[in-house]
């Protein structure tokens, strides 16, 4: 399946990515599994996505938790806890 990924704020800076298109194997995928998959890309990826820092995720613009499942065509985003207002 194909998904579109976005990164924001500290994650975007550290990973040096703001967006990417990703091809994933056609098997059940959750936010946690996707984070583990991306963490394998290297140190900074593991540190930013599976490390001590809190990471929040959204699927198609809705905040979700680690167990949320990802489907073909979804827009997935990873970002730190929000600090607006």
């Amino acid at each position: 399946m194909k998904i579109k990924l976005f990164y924001f704020a500290r994650l975007k800076e550290a990973l040096k990515y703001s967006t990417e298109d990703l091809n994933l194997p056609d098997e059940p995928m959750t936010i946690l599994k996707l984070k583990a998959l991306l963490a394998k890309r290297g140190d900074v990826w593991g540190e930013m996505l599976m490390g001590k820092l809190k990471v929040r995720a959204a699927i198609n613009h809705e905040l979700v938790d680690d167990n949320a499942s990802i489907s073909n065509g979804d827009e997935v985003a990873f970002f730190p806890p929000v600090t607006g207002g």
Partner: protein, 152 residues
């Protein structure tokens, strides 16, 4: 309902007048304006840069207004949030709620601000004499949000 994300400043007086214009049943408008401070957690702040998630931000703010409208008997609400680079004393956010009476408008305005702080995808980066850093989320904001109970 009005939701706007913009780099330019806003005129709160004008925005509030638009909110109740032509509505003679409105008896109360409650508003909150957030400003950039020149000091945060002991650091002198010379500049603040706000990033957001276009698309999700607008949906998130509209959802926060709708939740407020479901919980309280209010007429209308508006949220304007600035992004980009701001200086101390600059306005960041305006939340305004109109209704027949003040009680429900006060509560809904505070609720919307507490939800915005913890759910709307904005991130602040501060410039200080020691360099730039991302602002950490505060647990007190989570506590402020929790007091409204569950029910998203």
């Amino acid at each position: 309902m009005t939701v706007r994300i913009q780099t330019e400043d806003f005129d709160a007086g004008f925005e509030i007048s638009q909110l109740h214009k032509n509505h003679k049943d409105i008896g109360a408008v409650v508003s909150f304006i957030g400003l950039v401070r020149d000091m945060n957690d002991g650091d002198a702040v010379s500049q603040l840069t706000l990033e957001h998630y276009p698309g999700m931000t607008e949906k998130s703010l509209a959802s926060i207004i709708n939740q407020g409208k479901t919980r309280w008997n209010i007429a209308d609400a508006l949220i304007i949030h600035r992004v980009g680079t701001l200086q101390p004393s600059d306005q960041i956010v305006l939340v305004a709620v109109s209704g027949a009476h003040r009680g429900e408008a006060f509560a809904a305005c505070e609720f919307m601000m507490d939800y915005l702080k913890t759910e709307a995808p904005f991130w602040k980066k501060e410039a200080t004499p020691q360099g730039e850093h991302w602002v950490e989320a505060k647990s007190t904001d989570d506590v402020a949000r929790e007091r409204w109970g569950a029910g998203k």
